[in-house]
């Protein structure tokens, strides 16, 4: 018989409404509120405890709240944690996500929740946990509960978890192969899709492409001869011994190399580790990827006001959006410290 813990906010935990949003976490060896409705839907498992925490308390004191919850769970035997459902309640949704992620990481036990796709908790936690697609208000509880139970039963039973649309959870940004029936060859599917497209009938592309987010155009710099410039490269140029172990693809780190004392990058001292292009030219003359010889000359001639003394380098192929954002943030901190106005980024 598997054991489940439920997490609820102060309202669903029947402590009180907004006035009790600062309620500190407690654990109860009983089923409270939605747990009572969930219990009969679980096969071969029972909900042993309910944890309740006020949405404001968790939101404003997340470390303390999670630590307390961690203490409660320490020593308890449990196979799954279910949080919510949170519908469109923003604080509740974020807190459910937070608790699930914490429990998964600390106790290595699956933790699931449910909320509406528009809930802010989704964007923050979708990649870390399973979030079942939920309704937009508490009246939808009677749809959300069976959905959560069905999925929970699969997890508890060790059944393979299928893709997001099939199981009803929110896409986590992972694409994997699925093998279809033998007759569903690509040729057959392409032919059928083509006919639908020709006839104006609805069809679904197997690779959904969102329009790329457009970023506001930054204002131009006024005068390059007065500008403080930095150069970043995604061409994978690193010192010959690759001290930061920059990988040939899917990079999650960048190197930061002092180029203040040199007039150019010397072949032999720098190599390319990029897996996406032929490296002969780059290794023979690293300046063809990271043109520091020309950059230094431009500084000497006064055409660039100031060149940042560090070279930021990574490999750009197959980078993950999340990692790219994180690396950019870290690099920007260094650049701001040095009063840099503008960046030149060289790709391949």
């Amino acid at each position: 018989m598997k054991k489940i813990i439920m997490y609820l906010n102060q309202f669903f935990g029947q402590i009180g409404g907004e006035e009790k949003a600062d309620y500190q976490p407690t654990i109860h060896e009983e089923m409270i509120g939605p747990a009572l409705a969930m219990a009969p839907l679980i096969k071969d498992g029972r909900i042993t405890h309910t944890i309740i925490c006020g949405d404001d308390y968790m939101n404003l004191h997340p470390e303390e709240a999670l630590e307390k919850i961690g203490e409660y769970l320490d020593g308890l035997e449990f196979d799954l944690l279910i949080a919510g459902p949170a519908f469109l309640a923003g604080r509740y949704g974020v807190n459910c996500g937070r608790v699930c992620k914490y429990v998964q990481e600390r106790f290595n036990v699956p933790a699931i929740t449910c909320m509406n796709e528009e809930n802010p908790g989704v964007d923050i936690y979708r990649k870390d946990i399973y979030i079942l697609k939920g309704g937009d208000n508490a009246a939808r509880m009677r749809n959300d509960m069976p959905a959560m139970a069905r999925f929970a039963n699969k997890l508890l039973n060790g059944e393979p978890i299928l893709w997001a649309d099939e199981e009803g959870y929110i896409k986590r940004g992972i694409r994997q192969t699925v093998i279809l029936d033998k007759e569903q060859t690509a040729a057959n599917r392409a032919y059928d899709m083509m006919l639908k497209k020709l006839r104006g009938e609805p069809f679904e592309s197997e690779l959904q492409i969102k329009m790329e987010e457009r970023v506001a155009i930054a204002a131009p710099i006024k005068d390059a001869s007065k500008a403080r410039v930095a150069f970043i490269s995604t061409g994978g140029i690193v010192p010959a011994d690759n001290p930061d172990r920059i990988p040939s693809a899917s990079s999650t780190r960048f190197g930061r190399y002092d180029i203040s004392g040199m007039d150019r990058l010397e072949p032999g001292e720098w190599i390319s580790v990029h897996g996406g292009y032929g490296k002969t030219h780059a290794n023979a003359n690293p300046n063809v990827i990271a043109p520091f010889d020309a950059l230094k000359t431009l500084v000497k001639e006064g055409k660039i006001g100031y060149l940042h003394p560090y070279f930021y380098s990574t490999t750009g192929n197959h980078t993950n959006q999340r990692e790219a954002a994180r690396m950019a943030g870290e690099i920007l901190e260094f650049l701001r410290e040095d009063g840099i106005d503008t960046v030149i980024l060289g790709s391949t």
Binding site: V178, A187, A190
Partner: protein
């Protein structure tokens, strides 16, 4: 232009005194077959093996796969490649179905591949569904006897095509068991939508030597998109390369049986008016040449009055730029386009699966991801050299990985990724795989 293919459905292959075909059994005289595939003695230690679906057999490194066929009129099966240049696409061709001829060596790497006839890898490739007559051999000239370079494998490739022809000739005196007939009959009065298929060919090698796909026996590297008759493809005008990672390797067998061509033919005169095939290079270094290729494809489609197009992509990476820019230009020229392609979302599935994306490509059929790792059990028999894994530079196998350990374990089991499985992508239309969001 009418092409008739007379089929013989092979049920088993055995070795015997005389090469012949009777009641579904193909008997092969080993010595004659070896002489046929190795006329100039450029290969040594040649032997033949049979691998059947369901057997616990692993075959690697595979360098070429060809379907055994011969022409009734005496023309060579692969004009320009195995003999004199001649037209393709018309006449009578006899084919041994449910089997292939495979060239297997000792040294692997890119583009060599692996096929498991049973186990988890079997459902990833259509080659596990047929009986494979594999010859193993080594090069006499040691230049390519190594696992750290991309090899032309020319002797293996020619050998596989010659053996395919030798076996095909065996049935020329018999009556085929069934026929496939291909003719682009005039259906213009039915006013059906006109459809063109665009195929992409392995032409990325600029090294001296014959690495790339061969079109009528000539390296296809500088091909500008060219309109051909689908029968030409089915009748041996295109012979395969030694360039792509195994998962994306379209062997000659794929060209001879191009599923997307056969599917479009099946709808000709009913749903569509299939007008032709545009063959396209896979790789152009400069943006200008990529632009030119996309413009040519769209212009040809417009000249043919196409209402729709299907783009069968070869592989990812550079090819993604071709895929998207061509789709955009085709749509602008009035052809509703469907793209058919594999994806590489990285081993964890979380990376963008194409190097370029454009939302104007709104109709994509995915043939699955080639990046996922897969654990494979040891096999009772290995045709080829199991030690090529870990030793040689296969995309998809490694000597040691921090998380997964060595690809080849002491007990013969493997942990590899799908790039090493021959035709895992199934781009010509074979693949019954897709990618879903998890």
């Amino acid at each position: 232009m009418k092409l008739e293919i007379g089929n013989f459905y092979v049920k088993d292959i055995i070795f015997g005194l005389k090469t012949g075909y009777k009641n579904g059994i193909l008997t092969v005289n080993k010595k004659e077959a070896i002489d046929a595939l190795n006329p100039e003695g450029k290969l040594t230690n040649v032997d033949l093996h049979v691998a059947r679906p369901g057997e616990k057999v692993r075959i690697l490194p595979i360098k070429a796969v060809v379907e055994a066929r011969a022409r009734l009129d005496g023309r060579v099966t692969f004009p320009g490649f195995t003999g004199a240049t001649a037209a393709c696409g018309e006449g009578v061709l006899y084919a041994l179905k449910n089997m292939s001829v495979m060239a297997v060596g000792k040294y692997g790497g890119r583009p060599e591949g692996m096929v498991d006839m049973s186990g988890p890898a079997a459902e990833l490739t259509h080659y596990a569904d047929i009986i494979n007559l594999a010859f193993t051999a080594e090069n006499v000239d040691p230049t390519e006897n190594r696992g750290d370079i991309t090899k032309t494998n020319l002797n293996y490739r020619i050998g596989a095509h010659l053996l395919a022809e030798y076996l095909g000739k065996t049935v020329l005196t018999q009556e085929p068991e069934a026929w496939e007939r291909y003719e682009l009959s005039d259906v213009s009065e039915k006013k059906l939508p006109r459809v063109v298929l665009i195929t992409q060919h392995a032409t990325s090698s600029r090294n001296p030597g014959e690495y790339n796909d061969m079109f009528y026996g000539v390296d296809a590297r500088y091909l500008v998109p060219t309109l051909i008759h689908p029968n030409e493809m089915l009748d041996g005008c295109m012979c395969s390369s030694s360039v792509m990672p195994a998962c994306s390797h379209n062997c000659t067998y794929s060209y001879q049986n191009y599923p997307m061509i056969k599917k479009l033919y099946s709808g000709h005169g009913k749903d569509i008016d299939f007008v032709g095939v545009i063959i396209n290079c896979s790789f152009e270094e400069t943006v200008e040449k990529k632009e030119r290729a996309a413009i040519r494809v769209a212009t040809i489609a417009k000249m043919l009055g196409c209402d729709a197009a299907i783009f069968s992509q070869l592989a990812g990476g550079h090819c993604d730029v071709e895929l998207f820019t061509t789709i955009i230009k085709l749509e602008e020229a009035g052809s509703k386009t469907v793209g058919m392609c594999s994806e590489n979302p990285g081993r964890d599935g979380a990376t963008q699966s194409k190097t370029m994306l454009d939302a104007r490509a709104d109709a994509i059929v995915s043939t699955g991801s080639n990046a996922q790792a897969i654990e494979l059990p040891p096999m009772d028999t290995v045709i080829g050299d199991l030690n090529s894994i870990g030793r040689d530079r296969y995309p998809g196998a490694w000597e040691y990985d921090y998380i997964l350990g060595p690809s080849l374990r002491p007990d013969g089991s493997l942990i590899v990724d799908r790039r090493i499985i021959l035709d895992n992508d199934g781009a010509p239309g074979w693949s019954n795989k897709t990618c879903k969001d998890f």
